[in-house]
Symmetry: C2
Subunit: 537 residues, 2 copies
């Protein structure tokens, strides 16, 4: 069964090996495990619902508790410490667009706010329930999950937008097709969630971001239904899909999405290459990206992430042998690991890998074959379970991500890591921080940084610690000129930093546009736009 | 010097050979050449300006006349018959964003409408000057044309948005780079015009549409400056670039645009392949597009366009020999010509062409080498000059284009051609109509149809003839489910058909968004949005 207070299925544990734990303890000190609140404790705080009864709306305490949060670190703190202080007044599970329209009308009549809920995997507070007098209806989309149409000639598939990643892929695979969208949250995130948060999957280099996959669909808004037809391309004014992409529930509920699919690939490989240091590795990955090869993934870890990955892998003797070999080839303590994926026809895959390796070797890259890549593929959706086991050891894991043009990439990485280190030093704590570039483009890359640090065991102190860290890294990102998010979205946590890239005029334009679809401001209030607005809702 | 009443430079004639002329006469009858109005006659109708003097605004008659129209067929009728009945009251040639802001403030103070003018190549009425009491300022952007910055590491170039295609490419080529955007209007269209009309170039398969190239920029709007920074990708809410793309002057004036560029390619080839008939050819081009090969162009002519191309080519004996060979290989009277371009590294180009040819041969495609492709490349920007020489022979040439998903492509081509034939039959005239697919995608293709028919020599009759034809083909497009434009935009001519794809809610959202940037409705009124709105301005 799905964990109510952590990641994933509660039958799956991905525990940390003793060497890795010792490594972490040596770097940031021994964790202080605390006792988690129980499910009963978490539900005991659910107040009476302020919504009138409706046949499609559940007001059961546990259902409301399970739909009250996402997966951000402050969300975890609330769940683990039993501090959830805001719950939707009811949760609806619509099974059709008609029911969504009926529920929007009901919410409007009750003066309720509506929070669209996909898989509950947001890490930036998209699902937080606002405090205040306004009742809140959570719209859980999980029952709108069918493949409604597959047009093989046009390679277009229409789905209910609440479909989860694995269910979507299974329905396509039965026909020999794939969408190819694999964010780390794949197992629990939904198609609709991907679209409205501009998600990007691990193999975006081949399949594109969700923006490139989303061909059309249906959105139910307080102002009516927006039905977006599919065209391969169009010059007919403003692209309505772009009003839906990244709208984070502010303009309505996506009930159906048409996506661009491809036949299942003939083959898929993941190769690992080590570089002596970051500069060589970044130069190689930039040249590979700019060569526009038909690869499916490029993922470059910095030296600390490479060290962490090798430590987490276990297999101490094997890794020692590998490190000896790499050392002899010039890849020593500053070595960086690049993972290169290619997917498609055999001949194309072979050519692409060969060309990429040629570029890598020019920067002293040392290819080490497919074993590490295969391991990565096996664990691609499991490593996120580490968050559970580290929590049990008294450690918090958080991540931030941005994207910037190539000239800023290295400086961004250094600044974000430094900001985190400085911020936790203020709290008297060490942080184990490491970074990878997970999505690369001809113009630049995403920069994805992970922070591991100790929990204090005190809710207020841990929340303050996170707030200090988060503010410091977000300020570093915007001051260097990165976007506040490459793939997680804005939600509540990034909203204060959005003006830095949109400008006041841009923010006002977004607000103005959303109000067209949602004149009363009932849709996911307080999310995405900077907080000044929330006062007026 | 640039022709004031036709296409291109008046030192360039691209005259039709006698066989091709005979071919056309045989199909639709002998043309009736009429006498064109003179430049002096066209300027004689320019009334007194209603704008107060401003040091940056020219009110000279000839300048105002030359900025009053684009290149649509109704625009040509007005120019050739001396029937231009609406002129801007003044034309400004700003040299900086400051001057643009100053001019917007001036226009606002005068209660004037502003029409942004790039290269004047619109074929859908983007530049038409509204009748009525409101004075009109044309903002000619041609002096904002410099390369402001080239970041080779990030492959980003910042230009003044008024830069013409050849000037843009020349400035990049000096540094070893190219944008690769080659619409047929390339020689006279501008970067800013491409962005705000969602232009697509002939090699979009490699370089992308302008949407994919446009990375950021600066827009001066009545509500202030919108400064859009560059990111390789972002999940931070609504993408502001998408508010600018396709906005057709309704929200402001683009003064700078940053575009994604690439190093000049190592090699470029264009191969020709013939197919026995349309069905085989379409099947081949769809499979090639869906194989996602690194090609730069796929352009498939139907049987009538193929026949027309061969006839226009001249070289009667060579063509006869080619046709004998093709006939022997099964490509007879229904044969269709596919042009395949590939651009980039030599090895990649070779692989891509080989794979494409393998797919083509499965559909009985007959490759005939590179000679025809080279000829096409030489004449890629010259064939549009044919419009001048055919006009002199008493013939009008017009085109429409759309895009739709693969299952609709053939039906769309047949319906558009039939609609044109039926419409002109009503007027007692024949039409020579032919079609190609010029931009292909995994999901579908653009469908580009050309019409040649006789002019009557009477302005009102020729305008009515065009109106009948245009309405019939646009209705066919929307009834079959194509977009009203794949690459020309909306302007005035397509505005009545936009609701078919945007829906009333979508149209209202666009209108609402534009008003945010332009509260008084002074920016290019009457364009893009359906005509109901114009009454209220």
């Amino acid at each position: 069964m799905r964990r109510w207070n952590g990641w994933g299925d509660d039958s799956i544990d991905f525990s940390i090996n003793s060497d890795a734990l010792a490594f972490l303890q040596q770097r940031i000190g021994k964790g202080l495990p605390a006792t988690d609140a129980t499910l009963a404790q978490a539900c005991s705080g659910v107040p009476a619902s302020r919504l009138p009864a409706h046949r499609l709306v559940s007001t059961t305490g546990e259902v409301r508790m399970r739909n009250s949060l996402g997966q951000s670190l402050p969300d975890w703190l609330k769940m683990r410490f039993g501090k959830i202080d805001s719950f939707p007044d009811g949760v609806a599970f619509p099974e059709s667009a008609d029911q969504v329209r009926e529920l929007l009308a009901y919410a409007s009549a009750c003066g309720a706010a509506v929070i669209p809920y996909g898989g509950g995997t947001s890490v930036v507070g998209h699902l937080s329930v606002p405090h205040g007098a306004q009742p809140v209806l959570s719209m859980n989309m999980s029952r709108l999950s069918s493949l409604l149409n597959l047009d093989k000639k046009a390679q277009l598939a229409r789905f209910g937008a609440g479909v989860f990643g694995p269910d979507l892929e299974a329905q396509l695979r039965a026909h020999g097709y794939t969408l190819g969208h694999f964010p780390q949250s794949f197992e629990y995130s939904t198609l609709g969630g991907w679209v409205v948060t501009r998600s990007s999957g691990q193999q975006s280099l081949r399949y594109g971001r969700i923006e490139q996959m989303f061909a059309g669909g249906k959105l139910e808004t307080p102002a009516g239904t927006l039905d977006i037809p599919t065209f391969p391309a169009s010059a007919a004014g403003t692209d309505l899909r772009e009003m839906v992409l990244g709208s984070e529930g502010r303009i309505g509920i996506l009930t159906e999405a048409v996506v661009r699919v491809t036949p299942l690939p003939e083959c898929e490989v993941f190769h690992a290459v080590f570089f002596p240091d970051w500069d060589a590795a970044q130069e190689a990955i930039r040249h590979i990206a700019q060569a526009k090869l038909p690869l499916s993934m490029l993922r470059l870890s910095n030296a600390t992430e490479t060290l962490t990955t090798l430590t987490l892998a276990g297999h101490k003797k094997l890794i020692a042998a590998l490190e000896t070999y790499l050392g002899w080839r010039g890849c020593k303590e500053n070595k960086c690991l690049l993972m290169i994926g290619a997917t498609g026809h055999k001949a194309t895959v072979k050519n692409a890998i060969n060309t990429a390796m040629r570029i890598a070797r020019k920067q002293n890259g040392v290819p080490v074959g497919q074993a590490m890549g295969q391991k990565w593929k096996q664990n691609r959706f499991r490593s996120v379970y580490l968050r559970n086991s580290l929590w049990q050891q008294g450690y918090a894991i958080d991540t931030v991500e941005t994207a910037c043009d190539w000239p800023k990439v290295k400086g961004m990485m250094l600044a974000v890591e430094q900001a985190a280190t400085d911020a936790l030093a203020e709290c008297g704590e060490l942080v184990h921080t490491y970074t990878h570039l997970s999505h690369v483009y001809a113009q630049g890359a995403s920069v994805y940084t992970t922070f591991a640090y100790r929990l204090s065991g005190n809710y207020e102190q841990d929340l303050a610690r996170w707030q200090t860290l988060k503010a410091a890294v977000c300020e570093a990102i915007v001051s260097i000129g990165g976007t506040i998010s490459h793939q997680h979205g804005v939600g509540t946590d990034h909203a204060p930093y959005l003006s830095a890239e949109k400008g006041e005029l841009g923010i006002a334009a977004m607000r103005h546009l959303y109000r067209h679809f949602d004149p009363s401001g009932m849709m996911n209030p307080g999310k995405l736009l900077p907080p000044e607005e929330t006062a007026s809702i």
